[in-house]
C-alpha cells in the first residue's frame, strides 16, 4: 500500500470536468473519515484484512497524509481465519505504524462466555467480542467497510449509524441524513458505526484497488487449492473445514471474492490472477459476492438484518 500513497498521478490532473465516479466516491469517503476523526474522541477501524476494510484503511491513510492514520485497528478473530489473511493484517498494521487490537472468539469459547454453534460457523459469534472490545477501548466511533450494495438490509443503513449500549441497530428509527451534514451526536453508552464506502459497489472497490495498486491478501487472486463442493460453493480444506462423507476433495484454480470465516466462505473458480482480470471478471459476474461466497447470508432473507440488529456490522 505504501507505494501507492506516494504517487501523484491519480489526482494531480483533476479538474472540475474530470472528476469521475471513483474520484467522487473517494472524496465522499475521505470527508466522512475526517468528520468522524474531528468529532469523536476514540475512533477505531474494524479491520479484517478483507478488501473493503483494506480500502477504508487506504482512504484513511490518504485523508491524513503526510500524517499517519490517527486511530487504531480492531479485528475480531473467529479463530477460523485464513492464516495468509492474518499475516497480511499484521504486516499492513506494522507498515502503516498503526496499533492493532485483536478480540478473539476462541477466548470466549474457552471460558464459556460463548458456545460453539451446531453448524460450526463462527460469524454470528463475533458480535459479543466486538461489543466488549468497543466498550473496553471506550471507542465512540467504529469505522467499517460495509457497503449498501452488499445486502438489502445494508441498503437501508446510514453512513453514520447510531447504536445503543447493546450495539443494536434500530432500522425503523434512523436519523435522516441530509446534504453532507453528518450528525454524530450520541449520549453515554451509545456509539456510532461509520461506513465511509457505503455508496461503493463491489466493482467500484475493485476498480479503485486496481487504480491505486493497493496490496491485498494473495487469496483474492487465482491460485490452486484443495477444495470440496458444498452448497454450490468451493470450500477450502483446512484445520477447521473438512469434507463430509460423500464430498470429494479436488485441486482447482480458485479465488475468493470475500474473505471471512474459513468454514463458511466459499471460493469461486477463476483464472483471474491480476487486478485487471479481476475487474473484468467482477464486471461480467451475474451473481453477487455474498450470494456466491457466504453460506451464512443464505440462511434466510433477513439473515443480515437480524445479525445487524444484534450489534453485528
Amino acid at each position: 500500500m505504501t507505494d501507492t500513497l506516494t504517487t501523484t498521478d491519480a489526482a494531480a490532473s483533476a479538474t472540475p470536468a474530470g472528476i469521475d465516479a471513483l474520484d467522487a466516491l473517494e472524496a465522499e469517503a475521505i470527508h466522512v473519515i475526517r468528520e468522524v476523526v474531528a468529532e469523536f474522541e476514540r475512533p477505531v477501524l474494524l479491520f479484517s484484512g478483507g478488501k473493503d476494510s483494506v480500502v477504508v484503511l487506504h482512504l484513511a491513510a490518504k485523508a491524513f497524509r503526510p500524517g499517519k492514520v490517527p486511530f487504531p485497528l480492531l479485528h475480531v478473530d473467529t479463530g477460523h481465519n485464513f492464516p495468509e489473511v492474518l499475516r497480511f493484517r499484521d504486516e499492513t498494521a506494522a507498515r502503516l505504524g498503526v496499533r492493532l487490537e485483536v478480540a478473539r472468539v476462541q477466548d470466549y469459547l474457552d471460558d464459556g462466555r460463548l458456545a460453539e454453534r451446531a453448524d460450526g460457523t463462527r460469524n454470528p459469534l463475533q458480535t459479543l467480542p466486538l461489543l466488549d472490545a468497543i466498550a473496553a477501548g471506550r471507542h465512540d466511533a467504529v469505522f467499517g467497510g460495509a457497503r449498501r450494495d452488499e445486502d438489502k438490509a445494508r441498503a437501508k443503513e446510514r453512513i453514520l449509524s447510531l447504536r445503543d449500549e447493546f450495539g443494536q441497530w434500530d432500522p425503523r428509527n434512523q436519523r435522516p441524513e441530509l446534504w453532507s451534514l453528518y450528525n454524530g451526536r450520541h449520549t453515554v453508552g451509545q456509539h456510532v458505526r461509520a461506513f465511509p464506502i457505503s455508496n461503493w459497489t463491489e466493482l467500484d472497490v475493485w476498480r479503485y484497488i486496481a487504480r491505486e495498486r493497493i496490496a491485498l491478501p494473495p487469496l483474492y487472486f487465482a491460485h490452486e487449492r484443495e477444495v470440496y463442493a458444498r452448497d454450490g460453493m468451493w470450500l477450502a480444506v483446512s484445520d477447521v473445514s473438512a469434507p463430509r462423507a460423500g464430498e470429494t476433495v479436488e485441486r482447482r484454480t480458485v479465488r475468493y471474492r470475500t474473505v471471512g470465516d474459513l468454514s463458511c466462505t466459499g471460493a469461486v473458480e477463476s483464472e483471474a490472477a491480476d487486478l485487471d482480470a479481476i475487474v473484468r471478471e467482477v464486471a461480467a459476474s451475474t451473481i453477487t459476492e455474498r450470494g456466491a461466497t457466504r453460506a451464512d447470508d443464505r440462511l434466510s432473507e433477513a439473515a443480515m438484518e437480524d445479525r445487524k440488529k444484534d450489534g453485528y456490522f
Partner: protein, 461 residues
C-alpha cells in the same frame, strides 16, 4: 439470466436489443457519478419502475433475481407467475411482511456513461422526512404520477419539497400509460397539469415523459407505442442531465469548510518518517483539510478566512493526499497557506472578496422531521458546515399549506410540516442564502440532549 428473464411481465413492445453488458463497458472506462431520488404516491408503480430500471440496465444479478422470483411465487404474486419488483428494494423484514416501504433505500447501477446512486423514497409514511433525505443530495428527482389519476395532493407536495430544496432537475414520469391505451391526449392533459403546478412553484427544469413501468416503455429504451412522444427515455435523460457537482464547481465562488488541521509533526506516515530529509521537509507542515463545497481553488489563489477575515495565499493544494495544481467541488483536499492563520475546525476558507458575513440570526425554512413538535422558544443546536452552535427558535411565523401552496400562521411545527422560522445563534455563522449556495445555506436542527436530528433548515435570505 435467460430463465429468470422469462419470469418477467411481457417485454416492452419496443423490443430493442439490450446492450451486451453495461457493467463491462464500465469496467473499461471512467464514468461520472449521478445521484437521483425517486418519489411517488401509493400504488403509482414506483417500486415497479425502480425494479424495471434496475433490471433493464442489468443491475439485478441472477441470485438476487431468483430470490425475488421465489418469494413472489411463494406469495402468489400475479397468480403465482408474476415478479414483485417491490421485493428488490424493500430491504427490511417489516417492509416485506407489510408490503410497505418504511425507509429510504439506496440502490446502485451503471451504464457506459454513468454510475447511478438511486435513493428510493417511500411516499406514504413520513413522506417529507424521506423526500428531504433523498432530495438534499440528489442531482435529480424522479416523481411518479399515475396517468389515470393525474396530479394528486401528494404530487404537489413532492414537487413543493423538490422546489424548496432546489433540486437541479425534476423528471415527472407519467406512469401506467399502457392502461390508457398509450393515448396522447391523456398524457398531454397530465403533462399540462404538471407544468402548471411546476410553474406555480417556480420549478425551472422539469421534464415530463410517458412511461409504462410494468412493460418497460420509455424506461430504458424509447417505446414504439408512444410515437407521438419524441423525447428521451427515462434512462437517456438520467444519463445526460448535468450533475450538481459540475454546476457547483463551475458557477459558484470557492468555499472550503475546514474539517480539521493536518499537523503531523511527530506522527508522520512511516514511509515519510523513515527518511530524515523527507521528515525534515514535513517538520512545519500545516494544512487545512476539508471537502470543497463549491468553486475551484488553485495554487496562488488569494483566500479569506472566516471568522477573522484575514487574507492569505494558497501555497499548496493536495487532493486525497497527493499534490495538485488545482481542485474543485466536491473533492476532499488539504490546503497550505502562506501565513500562519487560525484554521481551527469550523473556520471557512473563501475566495478573497467573497467571504460571507457572520450572522447571529437565521431567517429559515424548516422541514420538521422528528415526531416531536418543534415549538417557538425551543433551545436547540444548529449544525452548519463544520460548526455546531447553540440556538433558540425565537419565532415560528407560518407553516406552508402544501396543497393550496399558501402560508398559514403557526407557532409550532409538527412532523412533516414545512414552516418559516427565525433562529437566534450563540455565535456568528457564515450563512448564505440557500438559493445562491447549497452548502452555505443549509443546516441541521439538533436536539440538545438526545442528539436527534429534529429538522432540516435552509437559509431564506
Amino acid at each position: 439470466m435467460t430463465d429468470a428473464t422469462q419470469l418477467l411481465a411481457p417485454a416492452s413492445a419496443t423490443d430493442a436489443p439490450a446492450s451486451a453488458s453495461p457493467a463491462l463497458d464500465r469496467a473499461a472506462g471512467a464514468t461520472s457519478l449521478f445521484r437521483f431520488a425517486t418519489a411517488g404516491s401509493v400504488d403509482d408503480g414506483k417500486s415497479t419502475l425502480v425494479g424495471r430500471l434496475l433490471h433493464d440496465s442489468k443491475a439485478i444479478l441472477a441470485d438476487q433475481f431468483e430470490q425475488v422470483a421465489r418469494t413472489s411465487r411463494e406469495r402468489g404474486f400475479g397468480q403465482g407467475t408474476g415478479f414483485d419488483f417491490a421485493l428488490l428494494t424493500d430491504g427490511l423484514r417489516a417492509e416485506r411482511e407489510q408490503g410497505i416501504t418504511i425507509d429510504v433505500a439506496y440502490r446502485y447501477f451503471s451504464t457506459g456513461q454513468r454510475s447511478f446512486i438511486l435513493a428510493d423514497c417511500p411516499g406514504h409514511v413520513q413522506y417529507t422526512r424521506n423526500m428531504v433525505t433523498g432530495a438534499t443530495t440528489a442531482d435529480a428527482v424522479v416523481v411518479l404520477v399515475d396517468a389515470r389519476n393525474g396530479v394528486l395532493e401528494q404530487t404537489r407536495r413532492h414537487l413543493a419539497v423538490v422546489a424548496l430544496l432546489r433540486v437541479p432537475h425534476v423528471v415527472v414520469a407519467v406512469n401506467k400509460i399502457d392502461l390508457l391505451g398509450f393515448d396522447e391526449g391523456a398524457f398531454t392533459r397530465v403533462a399540462d397539469d404538471v407544468r402548471r403546478v411546476a410553474g406555480e412553484l417556480g420549478l425551472a427544469d422539469v421534464h415530463v415523459l410517458p412511461v409504462s413501468a410494468l412493460d418497460g416503455d420509455n424506461v430504458v429504451d424509447r417505446s414504439s407505442r408512444t410515437p407521438w412522444y419524441d423525447g428521451p427515455s427515462l434512462l437517456e435523460l438520467l444519463e445526460t442531465l448535468p450533475p450538481l457537482d459540475g454546476l457547483e464547481a463551475d458557477a459558484e465562488a470557492f468555499r472550503l469548510p475546514v474539517q480539521l488541521v493536518l499537523r503531523p509533526q511527530g506522527g508522520l506516515a512511516p514511509d515519510l518518517a523513515g527518511d530524515p530529509a523527507t521528515a525534515e521537509a514535513y517538520r512545519d507542515y500545516r494544512a487545512a483539510a476539508g471537502r470543497i463545497a463549491s468553486g475551484t481553488v488553485r495554487v496562488g489563489d488569494r483566500v479569506q478566512v472566516f471568522p477573522s477575515g484575514i487574507e492569505t495565499t494558497v501555497t499548496g493544494v493536495e487532493v486525497a493526499g497527493a499534490p495538485a495544481d488545482a481542485a474543485a467541488a466536491p473533492q476532499s483536499v488539504a490546503l497550505r497557506l502562506a501565513d500562519d492563520v487560525d484554521l481551527a475546525r469550523g473556520t471557512l476558507l473563501a475566495e478573497a472578496g467573497t467571504l460571507p458575513e457572520g450572522r447571529r440570526e437565521i431567517d429559515a425554512d424548516l422541514f420538521q422531521l422528528d415526531a416531536r413538535t418543534l415549538a417557538q422558544g425551543a433551545r436547540v443546536l444548529v449544525k452548519h458546515g463544520t460548526t455546531t452552535v447553540q440556538a433558540i427558535v425565537a419565532e415560528i411565523s407560518s407553516r406552508r399549506d402544501l396543497d393550496a401552496l399558501t402560508h398559514e400562521p403557526a407557532d409550532a411545527l409538527a412532523v412533516n410540516d414545512i414552516g418559516r422560522a427565525r433562529l437566534v445563534l450563540s455565535a456568528p455563522l457564515p450563512l448564505e442564502p440557500y438559493a445562491l449556495h447549497r452548502a452555505g445555506g443549509s443546516f441541521l436542527v439538533i436536539h440538545p440532549s438526545d442528539g436527534a436530528t429534529l429538522a432540516a433548515g435552509t437559509v431564506r435570505s
